[in-house]
């Protein structure tokens, strides 16, 4: 068959033949032979080919060919294919072991694969598997087939799309809305767990025969990205345009607000019969209002419901409801025939004038910045306040309470473990502080004073705590802490020492102490720490079963320990760490702070052991800390706090292993630690502490590499870490730890330069190292390092050599008197230096 017309006739005939049943086919074939003999031969051959072709050219499911019923994937036996999702084939399956009679859906994912992608895939899966809600199809399991294709195992939902269900059961508007409220609850739940769906549409909302809605494919889009090795940051790969929010279509970053939009589209479709279309030009949100859509479909829509939907479908996310919860709230109000809140919206947004309007500014900022709906509570309060007749004092009291709680407390806490949020926090912080200052000027009653003190404290914590994610504003933090401390003292005097005031006081002076420590004023910091520790211990003793008090006591002991370490009082420090660990381990509660504290205390005990040369003890403690940290990570995978802790543990382990001569292990671990710190730093480039951690980890890795014989890597790493430190020192506040670690890196760089035959540069490095390590106040934790640096300068010769050697000898003697032992990482104990000194003396004679 060589011409188009011929082929057209042939395929038309074949198509017709294919539609018929066997009897009809035979008759048809006969007819073809009779009426078109030219066609007959080709026709027969085509029919023959059709039956012989088998799976010729059939595209298989990616990775390993399509699966057949009866085959196994993981622990599941496939029963039947149930569809072709946008991301891969879906099968009904059951558990293979006869124990469970559980039907599941197994979904295979089209994706390219890579090693790191699997890790990410697993991490994401764990986050989604933790979403347990009656209206969310549960993600049960997941993995990769033998061929490396990722798959997911989900709760099997036998149901139909919500649109069909509502139509088939002829539900009225009220019933439809009530069903939607259940769906809203599921979405709200997921948002509270910081999971965005990204692809809400009717085919993802199934309703079972009992009328239970189930949301499918929650966050699956993220998993697809994860499986393909792409960071699952924002949008889904395969969207249905009809339900996608304007920002999704324009590839802007997504927040939970995008889910709100898609959800609203579904609700709109259910109550009007049609879907809204976004207007293509600015100035208009939709092409037609839901009311008009309803009219088009011959239905009527209540005015309030129209308003609610319009608000949820606004083009700009910050114009919509701040959360799904709010949206559901108004839907509920509509159902109960109560006034909806959305109506007042226009007025609120336009008028920003009178006192209570401070709220509008803060709330709007929060919504725009976080999309997490914390501002929802504020907007709600705003509306309530505007309506209520309250005394000015009482209203302001509530204002402060709401601000402190919602803005600074909950808001900050919820962002703490999300990487990349430093800029957001800074923004909210500024607003919060402005507001507090306005109120502080005329507060007098204890309850208000208390709230203010707490507010300042919280603000100070975010402003400049050097141990956590900080924004680098140490002076501001000091001012805020001082304000808090003064307020607390005032309260203690006013109300004759209520427990909560004492606690507040202890917290404020601890904060101050932290700052002082960061600046290097160890003595002043230590005094405050000890004062705080005694208050905390007393409070803990008064109510031993109160976990908050226990934690505070544990932390106070720990921080005292740190201060003592810096002061060189190592024995006392170890006692504090032991106490801290004991309290933390004794606590039974599920709160994660305890194992975290225990893990860090174990790490510190490991450091104590390492300093004294007890390497077995050190490794034991580090392994202990590492195990605790990993248990925490299992429970909250992806938590950046714990990942950081883990990186520290692994890094410490590598140092101890290097000390013991287990160099390949040490090398591997040092690299791992560095990689992890780098990854964390990348996630939030505004965060200073992560960058400090990277520089330190890099310097350590360089040292270990050198000991392991990989001199090239050692040189690169140490040189880069030196420039990283230089940059950090130039661009922000220099804590004592930073200065000390910088000094160590400089010394190591000097060693490598000397090895490379560049003595003049090496000398310069050593001098710089000594300058930092010898600065006052002296950091006695790094005394041994100072001694090494001094010794190096002595070894380099020159007129000052003897002086340097003598200084090194003295420094070492002091360090040894405090219990420090020399080792690989800090070579050059006092006898070694003494030998060197006498050797030089001999040479000169």
């Amino acid at each position: 068959m060589t011409d188009r017309l011929g082929y057209e006739r042939l395929s038309a005939a074949f198509a017709e033949w294919a539609e018929l049943d066997p009897g009809g086919r035979e008759a048809f074939r006969q007819r073809v032979h009779d009426t078109s003999p030219a066609l007959a031969d080709a026709f027969d051959r085509l029919i023959a080919a059709d039956s012989e072709a088998g799976d010729f050219l059939e595209p298989p499911a990616d990775g390993s060919g399509s699966f057949e019923p009866g085959e196994r994937i993981g622990a599941y036996r496939l029963v039947a294919p149930v569809g072709d999702g946008g991301m891969g084939a879906v099968y009904l399956a059951a558990r293979d072991d006869a124990q469970f009679d559980q039907r599941v859906a197994v979904k295979l994912i089209h994706a390219g694969l890579g090693g790191a992608a699997s890790v990410r895939f697993r991490e994401e899966r764990q986050i989604l598997a933790s979403l347990s809600h009656p209206y969310i199809a549960h993600l049960i399991d997941g993995g990769e087939t033998a061929a490396g294709q990722p798959y997911l195992v989900m709760e099997y939902v036998a149901g139909e799309a919500i649109t069909r269900y509502c139509d088939r059961h002829e539900l009225d508007t009220g019933a439809r809305l009530r069903l939607c409220l259940k769906v809203c609850d599921a979405v709200r739940f997921a948002h509270a767990h910081l999971v965005v769906h990204c692809d809400i549409k009717p085919s993802n909302i199934l309703v079972t025969a009992e009328g239970t809605p189930k949301l499918l494919d929650f966050g699956i889009a993220r998993l697809v990205h994860a499986a393909a090795g792409v960071s699952p940051a924002r949008t889904s790969l395969m969207l249905t345009p009809d339900y996608a929010s304007p920002e999704q279509v324009r590839n802007l970053p997504l927040t939970t607000s995008a889910d709100l939009y898609s959800l609203a589209v579904v609700v709109c479709e259910l109550v009007t019969g049609g879907r809204p279309r976004a207007a293509s030009h600015d100035g208009q949100d939709l092409v037609e209002s839901p009311r008009d859509i309803a009219r088009r479909h011959g239905r009527r829509l209540g005015a309030d419901l129209d308003t609610v939907l319009l608000k949820a479908l606004r083009k700009i996310p910050s114009d919509r409801y701040a959360s799904v919860e709010q949206f559901a709230g108004d839907l509920g109000r509509y159902l109960d025939r109560r006034p909806i809140l959305a109506r007042g919206d226009a007025r609120l947004y336009r008028a920003r004038k009178f006192a209570a309007r401070y709220w509008a500014g803060v709330a709007a900022t929060l919504v725009a910045v976080t999309g997490l709906g914390i501002g929802a509570a504020l907007s709600q309060r705003q509306a309530t306040i505007a309506e209520a007749q309250r005394a000015a004092a009482e209203r302001r009291f509530n204002d402060v309470r709401a601000l402190a709680n919602a803005v600074v407390f909950e808001f900050d806490r919820s962002l703490q473990s999300v990487p990349g949020s430093t800029a957001a926090r800074r923004l909210v912080l500024d607003r919060g502080l402005q507001y507090l200052e306005r109120l502080a000027s005329d507060a007098a009653e204890p309850p208000l004073l208390r709230e203010l003190a707490r507010g300042y404290q919280r603000v100070a914590e975010v402003q400049g705590d050097p141990f956590f994610r900080n924004l680098g504003d140490v002076d501001g933090a000091a001012r805020s802490y001082q304000r808090a401390e003064d307020l607390w003292l005032q309260l203690v005097r006013l109300e004759a020492g209520r427990d909560e005031d004492r606690e507040g006081y202890a917290t404020a002076i601890t904060g101050q102490a932290d700052l002082l420590w960061g600046k290097g004023d160890f003595d002043a910091a230590f005094q405050r720490y000890e004062r705080a520790l005694s208050v905390r211990t007393e409070l803990h003793a008064k109510a031993p079963s109160d976990p908050a008090r226990a934690y505070a006591a544990s932390r106070a002991a720990y921080t005292s320990g740190q201060a003592l370490t810096k002061l060189g009082r190592f024995g006392e420090a170890r006692e504090r760490y032991r106490a801290s660990l004991a309290i933390a381990e004794a606590e039974d509660s599920k709160r994660k702070e305890f194992p975290t504290r225990a893990a860090t205390a174990a790490m510190k005990l490991g450091d104590c052991a390492r300093r004294e040369g007890d390497l077995d003890g050190a490794i034991r403690q580090y392994e202990r800390g590492k195990a605790m940290t990993e248990a925490l990570l299992d429970e909250t995978p992806g938590s950046e706090v714990f990942e950081r802790l883990q990186a520290f543990m692994v890094g410490r382990l590598s140092l101890a292993q290097a000390e013991r001569g287990e160099l390949s292990e040490a090398y591997r671990n040092a690299r791992l630690a560095l990689n992890q710190h780098e990854r964390l730093a990348k996630a939030d480039s505004a965060d200073r502490q992560s960058r400090v951690d990277v520089a330190t980890a890099r310097s350590d890795f360089g040292m270990v590499a050198f000991l392991a014989g990989d001199v090239a890597t050692a040189r690169d790493m140490v040189a880069v870490s030196v420039s990283e430190f230089e940059s950090l020192v130039r661009t922000g506040s220099v804590t004592v730890d930073l200065r000390s670690d910088f000094g160590v890196a400089l010394r190591r760089d000097g060693d490598l330069l000397r090895r490379a035959g560049r003595p003049a540069e090496a000398v310069a490095r050593y001098e710089a190292a000594v300058a930092r390590l010898a600065q006052t106040p002296r950091d006695f934790e790094y005394e041994a390092e100072l001694a090494v640096a001094q010794a190096r300068l002595g070894e380099m010769g020159g007129p000052q050599a003897a002086t340097w050697l003598r200084q090194s000898f003295d420094t070492w003697r002091q360090a040894e008197s405090r219990g420090v032992k020399a080792g690989r990482m800090q070579p050059g104990g006092s006898e070694a230096v003494a030998r060197l000194i006498s050797a030089r003396a001999t040479a000169r004679r």
Partner: protein
């Protein structure tokens, strides 16, 4: 590799009818596919386990980076990618069989249980047969190309070609049977 935003813009532009954007996009797609496919092909022997669809998916994800694109554009991408994929695979197959001097037989008897993706000789034969089919019925050939090289489902092909799913199914069945015969030896149909 241009940043993902550019690819998105190109796709949008192309969708609006900008042919030049389409050309540029085709180049990008082709380059990226070639890069990835090359890597995979080098690792494969005879391309027996190479999955064009997985590759296309992978390119999609890489080009789009962290941004997703609306569905219609994805299909257009796949349509582009299918063409590029076909060219790359076939070119590669030709190069390899040219290097196996003399041992290459253009017509290999069809086996019923041969898995698709095909080894070199059969891929070349398919390509040629597909060309012949395209001369007879463009849409039929396109359906095969999209399904086999692009990995699109029936519904997706329907959407991409703006026809019904039923039409696609019929086209596919017919074309497949025809190609099956063709590959037994040209001129046998």
């Amino acid at each position: 590799m241009p940043p993902p935003e550019d690819v998105t813009l190109l796709l949008h532009a192309w969708q609006q009818g900008d042919a030049a954007a389409g050309d540029r996009l085709a180049l990008l797609v082709h380059a990226e596919l070639r890069r990835i496919a090359g890597r995979r092909l080098r690792a494969e022997r005879d391309g027996h386990t190479l999955q064009p669809t997985a590759l296309v998916n992978e390119v999609w994800v890489r080009l789009m980076g962290q941004h997703g694109v609306v569905w219609q554009n994805r299909l257009q991408f796949y349509a582009l990618a299918a063409v590029a994929m076909r060219r790359i695979l076939v070119d590669h197959a030709r190069k390899r069989s040219a290097s196996r001097r003399g041992r290459d037989v253009p017509h290999v008897p069809v086996n019923d249980d041969l898995p698709s993706p095909l080894p070199d000789a059969r891929l070349i034969a398919l390509d040629e047969a597909l060309e012949r089919l395209a001369a007879l019925d463009t849409r039929h050939a396109r359906v095969v190309e999209l399904r086999y090289f692009g990995g699109l489902s029936v519904e997706e092909v329907a959407e991409a070609l703006a026809v019904s799913a039923g039409t696609v199914k019929r086209d596919w069945r017919t074309a497949r049977a025809w190609l099956f015969n063709e590959m037994r030896g040209p001129g046998t149909t």
